[in-house]
Symmetry: C2
Subunit: 408 residues, 2 copies
Amino acid sequence: MTTRDDCLARDRADALAPLREFFTLNDDQIYLDGNSLGPVSSAVSARVRAAIDEQWATGLVRSWSEWMEWPTRLGDRVARLIGAKADEVLVADTLTIAIAKLMGAALDQRPDRHVVITDAANFHSDLYIIDEIAARAKRPITVKTIDRNTLAENLDDDVALVEFTHVDFRTGEMLDLAGVTRQVHDAGALMIWDFAHSTGAVPLDVEGADVDFAAGCGYKYLNGGPGSPAFLYVRSKWQGVVRNPLPGWLGHARPFDFEMTFEAAKGIRSFLTSSPSILGLAALDGALDVFDRTSMSDLREKSLGLTDLFIDLVEARLPGVFEVVTPREHDRRGSQVALRHDEAYAIVQAMIAHGVVGDFRDPDIARFGFTPLYLRYVDVYDAVDRLVDVMGSHAYEDPSYRVRNAVT
Amino acid sequence: MTTRDDCLARDRADALAPLREFFTLNDDQIYLDGNSLGPVSSAVSARVRAAIDEQWATGLVRSWSEWMEWPTRLGDRVARLIGAKADEVLVADTLTIAIAKLMGAALDQRPDRHVVITDAANFHSDLYIIDEIAARAKRPITVKTIDRNTLAENLDDDVALVEFTHVDFRTGEMLDLAGVTRQVHDAGALMIWDFAHSTGAVPLDVEGADVDFAAGCGYKYLNGGPGSPAFLYVRSKWQGVVRNPLPGWLGHARPFDFEMTFEAAKGIRSFLTSSPSILGLAALDGALDVFDRTSMSDLREKSLGLTDLFIDLVEARLPGVFEVVTPREHDRRGSQVALRHDEAYAIVQAMIAHGVVGDFRDPDIARFGFTPLYLRYVDVYDAVDRLVDVMGSHAYEDPSYRVRNAVT
């Protein structure tokens, strides 16, 4: 079995180890919740301070000539992480609003079809917005919320659109991006991918996978901070074809001509509505810097090393205690590990009290995210060590760990 | 005629004068563009720094238990400035998205009516979103974009909704909030007000005026910074009745139970979609502090003093040169003055070069915003002095001032 010394040796040999220095992390805490909110990296504060003290305070309204470019400039930075081209990604709004825009735009392209398919295990905000957009659509639209493994039998020539989340927020299972997209296209339907748990976590090739539309958030593996703006991707072949269903003046071809009728800007900018949070964009801009020092394939290799190690140690040291819900196969795993246990909620609380931050997902999942930018192999070892303590001592049975908080 | 010494004396007697100390302003620049982007006030940087260095860096994901309250806590702070009650205002998203939400929610309440009325002089982003929401509505909706002075003859029992901007972004004309709302209600229709140029600029009494719905932005007179989140107001009597057409998990009654079907949270929170920019909210929170030191009625009194002085001096010193488009009557004026001139664009550019920042609005308006929080009477005097110079010397005829920038 892997020892703590083995882990220390792997850390010494890890080419990504120096990236940890860019992050602010709490001493005596192992943070396995970067899949909920990534930590602060070093360029963030400076970039936000410059936006406030220099651009806003001194440049005032004139700074908009630069800020106007940020939603697309940051979009281009995100594009490099997902295999998109320049001018295919826009950073603005929130993830659910981005999904709403893409769904409206996509439905327009299949006017004779009446079904939208989504995944019963999808993130709930996706389910809510899909239901509501469908209910408000001009033509009758039925939402089929299916077991995603039954996609094949649900696809027919009445399906307009499929929306799936690429990495399951609960189980960490990663879907086959190219395979599912092809299957959907073969049925004549369009595909929207939610990359919330994929961007910055796993290599993505939206171009190679022929993805139509996608969206993701800035605050998980991209470390853009709380409520960091979302991004949306519209493949270049769809640009100039699809229409932003929530248009605003900043997406107009000539925003400062104040024309009475909307004429979409060329390119991805047409999906911009009105002024995005510049401080939010500044923070994300700083957070993306660390990605320039590595590659998604190097990050992926280490991510798999960390999650393999975690699974191996949990199964070896706590045999039969948890069901490892996350797939063992590399090509079906994101960058998190989900453990099922009836007492998952209390176990997560006890682990936090013991310095290991993961999170709970209803009803019975303890979720641990592994971010290779700042996590070490020894952190994985120590986290499992504390899990062994918590389970062995039955610490999690303390009633205080069963009190449900609003935010977990 | 008022002299510079008179202005200095008025400033010495001005009870609001000490508030200027809370703002970062450029030396040798008179900033009359706070109606486009307000300047930085002193609590802003500290509040953003605390959000990054303390809450995010140290508290990490646990800080969400506090951040979750910010959209409604800040909403309550904005509520006090517009005459709303607690739990009637939410801060999130952008202004155009807020209008989209309110329009969808309002249309649901008049299912047998087919007309939406808006103002041909409205801000363009409002026109774009209204057109698109109408075009995508389930039932046929006609948008009538009218001269707002013809509202009476356009109101009939097929009108579902009227959306007007309360203070005209171009001319500075303020509409009769209570009177128009009553007129619309008398026709059985609902009213959405855009308060972009009203909030923090003029006293508002949404309760007394029986306003149904309203929205506004944080970056103008509230000084919340570039892309500061917007707010929306839903009168308490409509809450639990109307439905957010862009629902998301943070507006669910139990967001962390991850239920498959949307059930709206009680109160204004149901209009929240997904995670708003926490840094944007932190900045706005700091910016609102200065409003706790004064009242909207004191601000209004000084605002009218400043705009009266500007109009008087322009008419006295540059007779016949400009058409003063902004109404003379106090109850029809916002907190800006618009001057019409064929060379308005070049004049604004020349004024900026001479240290007075106003802005241009197509086709022929030089727009000057007056924010009593940080402007002095002597600033008004000096601004007109420079306008006299620019016009007298024909400085604005320099061809460089005619070059159109993307952002003005």
